[in-house]
Every structure is written in structure tokens, then in C-alpha cells.
């Protein structure tokens, strides 16, 4: 349902961080809090991508996708050993 959460990876364009933030981490937190009262960051990514992963409802994921600086909101994928 609409309230069911799943993990999303949210990627940001670092260069678009508003001047009011000193650290990207704070920008990510603020973006997440803007769309969700309860979601918590699982990981913050700094090297191979920029952004975070979190459990979100589909509505929250969509809302995050419309936030400034967000370039992609990708649902978690499960991989398998070969």
C-alpha cells in the first residue's frame, strides 16, 4: 500500500547544495525531513555517489524526487551471488 516503505537510494547533485548548508549531510537530512517525519538515513554516500539511502513510502520517494538538487531516487535492488 501507499504507506508501505521500502529502501530507496537518493542521489544528489552536490554542486547544487544551497548556500545555507555547510555540509552535504545536513542538506540530505533537511531534504529527507521535508518529505518524511519518520524516515531515517541508512547510509550516506560520499565517494562513488552523493546522497543517501533510506526507507521511504512511494509518496515520500516521489516527493524527494521533486526536491531541488535530487537527480535520482532509485528503489533498492536485490543482487545474487553468481
Amino acid at each position: 500500500g501507499a504507506s508501505a516503505t521500502k529502501t530507496y537510494i537518493v542521489r544528489f547533485a552536490r554542486s547544487e547544495m544551497p548556500a545555507e548548508f555547510v555540509e552535504h549531510r545536513h542538506w540530505y537530512d533537511a531534504s529527507l525531513q521535508a518529505v518524511s517525519d519518520s524516515a531515517a538515513v541508512l547510509y550516506t554516500y560520499d565517494t562513488v555517489t552523493h546522497g543517501f539511502s533510506a526507507r521511504l513510502t512511494p509518496d515520500e520517494a516521489e516527493a524527494l524526487g521533486n526536491r531541488p538538487g535530487v537527480v535520482a531516487v532509485i528503489p533498492e535492488t536485490r543482487y545474487q551471488l553468481h
Binding site: Y43, E76, H82
Partner: protein, 659 residues
Amino acid sequence: TTRTPEFLGLSSDAGLQPQSDSGTDVVVGVLDTGVWPEIRSYDDSGFGPVPETWKGGCDDSKNFKAAVACNKKLIGARFFSKGYEASMGPIDESKESKSPRDDDGHGTHTSTTAAGSFVPDASLFGFASGTARGMAARARIAVYKVCWAGGCFSSDILAAMDKAVEDGVNVLSLSLGGGQADYYRDGVAVGAFAAMEKGILVSCSAGNAGPGDATLSNVAPWITTVGAGTIDRDFPAFIALGNGKNYSGVSLYSGNLLPNEALPLIYAGNATNATNGNLCLSGTLIPEKVAGKIVLCDRGVSPRVQKGFVVKAAGGLGMVLSNTAINGEELVADAHILPAAAVGEKMGNAIRSYALSDPAPTATIVFAGTKVGVQPSPVVAAFSSRGPNAITPGILKPDLIAPGVNILAGWSGGVGPTGLASDSRRTEFNIISGTSMSCPHVSGLAALLKGAHPDWSPAAIKSALMTTAYDTYKGGDQLLDISTGKPATPFDVGAGHVDPVRALDPGLVYDLSVEDYLGFLCALGYTPLQVAAMSNRNFSCDSGKKHTISDFNYPSFSVPFQTAIFGGGASGVTTVKHTRTLTNVGTPGIYKATVSTSTNDVKVLVEPSELSFEQQGEKKTYTVTFSAPSQPSGSSSFGRLVWSDGRHTVSSPVAFTWT
């Protein structure tokens, strides 16, 4: 591994084993199920201090004491479980270790294949005995546990890649895969792109979804995609039937042998009330019918080794495991819990026919240990995923194949060789198969090349591995595909089978920069947002510049003839041009081009057909024009373009498709 170094020509080291400390500064990062650090493959005897550039470390946890587990060989061990636990619930620590410790065996196997230390007297129950070693035995290992009992989650994988790049690995090895998604949606592809930017070669398994077409995973062009082949070693077992006929199979069974006299044989499909009882699934065999007998089971649905437990639990004394059409004649040896042998489809059919027609069928199984020198080898494993590339048909994948069948390497002390909970046996080494096993071979070989050529880019290393790979046996015949028994194509083997000794001195390489890869994304028609999601940068494709995949400097050629796009003349002939640039990484030389194709219909023109290189680092560009008449949709044909100066051969596979 105990045989593949010799199979790959590494036994004499051929100058590939750096003895200086600089060679040991190469770090192979392995994302997998963790590590069992107590085995001898992680012995750090003879290793100098950890490289100064290394920023990584080991996660200390309840059953993984970093100070004891890690050393100058195993220099990194971390685990990533937040994504897994968020989806699956808290880890049950009575069943799996919330630490870098490997409860599965797979991660220990892959990391020791890539870079395990030399271990004398290695074997599995005496099978495949010898000195085991990884491909880059002097390289360091860093493990990143991202796979758990319930799978490997992209949020964890991305976090591990994030950390591995920060830690300072030089090569990343991932023997895992997901579905087929656009690159910007694929966590492995995204992580690998950033790793490539930082000079890290990323090697991934092609997948075990073969032999069907377009079954590959990990096909991004900045990833080295590795399929699997056999080596020249086998573990024969012989099945003698009561009608006097003998059949050969394979087995890694070690234990009490069957009685000398022939035992009754029964087909599982006749010892069950279940419709799929022929598969020897749990609880489907009728004990009264199988007790004291050898049971013929068909392969499929359940793990091969589990069928042995099912037969044993029902009172069976032995098992013959028959391939079906899906697996054909490919034989994968297993450390069965009871006397058992696997046979190919044809022999399985013959044994089944006998078991069903003879009023009192009997059989015996004899185990013959380890046999080396098996020819032909390599042959492409049936399970190895195949092209064409479903995401980007213009890039030929897999890139190459490497040993991936019946590979002995390190194993977890937490699980038996079958991987089943009911297997109480414990072994330091295990023999298993998959593209998971071929991938770390290439990862280790890439580490060797990195040690020998620290200034080479990931694309240059990959090019060296690909353009020196071989696609024929010594006699000149094409490598075979075991699933068909026919010659393999570039959709099966890519450039061919890896040849590390030749890769050390490729002569020329097809190099690629980050800008080239960004141009590739533009050629795909990625939007600025998609490029940003993929590459972490604000980059706009230059609308004034023509970006084409055919000009992307890849070491292989995929030529999709699409009349509707490229236009056809009155004759119906379509022409496609590719441009490539070669960089000299060897001595001065004059290289001449030769082209061979499997069809006379395709005309190939290389311009210029001769390239002269006078200095190292010198670059020369050439154009290849492919012209072909219309063919039925779905047709394919193949060829090879070779540049040679008489000493080096820089060889590229070509795949033509008509859609």
C-alpha cells in the same frame, strides 16, 4: 587455486610475479559474503608493511577480532548490513555473523582465488591436490561483506563500494549480479563508474543464466564482464550398469565406497508419488522403494548436493544425477554426502532407459580421483551467461572468459563443502563452479598487470586482457561451447579466454578516459539528470558534437545492422563505420591489420591498414567500414580484427547482428 595458475601459464611466473615491495602494494577489494581469516590462504609471511596509501581497516566485532583476523595480507575486512536488515529484519546472529566473518564460503573462495597466498598440500578430500594460490598471490586483500543469507542489497553494495574506493583499493571484484537495468539505476554500475574514475579496475561476473541468449548482467562498458570456461582438470567417476554398459561422469565424493557387487538401480520417478519426484526433492522419495539402492535423480529445482541428502535420508546407498536438456553435457562435480556421480543428458537418458526397461536393473559407481590434461580445454560452461548485450547492443559482452568450472579455493570453516546446514564436514578448501569463480581470476590477473604497469588506466588493463585473449585452441580450432558442442561465438566468450602472460605485453591498447565514458552516456541519449545520476557531475552533452557508440574506443566491435536507422542503398547494402584509437604501450613497431569473418557477405575495410608507432604513448586512429546486405532479422555473424607487428597480436572480436 591448484591448477589454474599452470593452466594460465603462470607456473613459471613469466615475470608477472612482482617480487619487490612495490608489487605488493596492489590491493584487491572483494565484495562478497565475507572472509574466514583463519585459513592459510591469508598467511602474511613475507609481506612488508601495509601500503602507506591504504586508509582501510578491519571491523572489530563479536566473532571477528580485527587484531587477530587481519594482518599484512588481509588488510581490510568490513561488513555492510543496514540495507539488508532494513528490508529483511534484524540479523539472527545465531545463524549468520553480523561481522566480516564468512558463514557461506563464497567470499572466502573468491578472495583467495583472486589473491590468496601460496598454500602447499591443499586439496578437497584429496581431490585437486597441489599448492593453492591466488592469481595475484603477492597482492593484498580487502573484503567487504555485502551478501547475507537473504541476498545482497544495492544500498549495502553501494556503501561498500563507497568505502572501498575511499580505503584505496586498486581492483574491485564483484561476483554478484542483479537484473538488467539501465546503468544509472544499477548500483553496481554507478559504483563502478566512480571507481573507474579513480583508476580502479572493476571486474564482475557475467552471470550463470546461460546458455540462453541475452542473459548477461554487469554489462556497463566501464566494467570488465567475465564469463566462465573449464580447465584441463576433471574428477571422473564411472557408472557400470548391469547390462554391461559403462558410462562416465564426475564426482567429488570421498568416503565409504559402495559394496563391490552391483546394487539395485531405481529411477527416482518410479520411487515417488510426487509428480516431480524424479528431481529427488525433499520428502518425495518413498523409503521402501529406494532403500539399499542406487537412485537415478534428474537435475533441477533443488541444489544438486541436496538431492544426495534426500536419497540418503530415504535409505538410498548411492545416486546418479542426470543432466536434462537445460544443462546438456556439462558436468559439474560436487562433494556429495553419499557415493554419487553426475552424468550428462545423453548418458542420463541411457541410464534412465535401462532403469525403466530392465526388470532388475543394477549399477555400480567407481570413483577415479583427479585427472589433469583433459582436452579440449577450455570449453565455455553451459551456465555462463551469453550475449548479446540487452542494455547496449552496440557494446559486445561478455568481455572475456576465465576458469570458472570445478575451481578449488579457500572455504569457510563455518559450513561444509556442500553449503548445506546438514553437512557437518569442514574443509579448508572447496571446489565449486560459476562465473563467481571466473571473475576473481580476472580480478587477480588485473592486479598483476596493475603491479607491473602502475600507470595503466583501468581501460588499458582491460584492453590488454581482452586483445591478448585467445579464441582458438593450439591447433587452430575455435573454442567450443559445451552447451552445443559447437564452436563458441563472441556472444559466448567475448574476446576469448584470458592469457595473462600475453596481457603483460599487449603492444597496443584501446584506452578510454572518463570523458570518453561521458561521451558514451551522451551516445545513449542520457538526459543531463541521468548523466548526473550516473557520473556525479554536472555535465551537458555537447549538442554540436556527434556522439556515437560506434566511435567509442572499446576493444571489441558490435555491429548491429539496422537498415531503418543507417539507411540502405538501392542494393540493400548497409554500411556502418567504427573508429578506434590505439595507444602504443610497447616498443616501436609497424602493425598491419587483418580481418577474418565467418561469412563472405560482410565486407570489412580497415583504413589505414598499417599503423607505425615510434614511441611509447603514441596514438593512432583508424576506421573500419563494415558493409553487408540485408539479412533476416535475428541473424548474426562474427569475425575478428587483428593488428600485428609480428611479435604482438592485438585482437578484437566482431559481432554482426541484423535487427
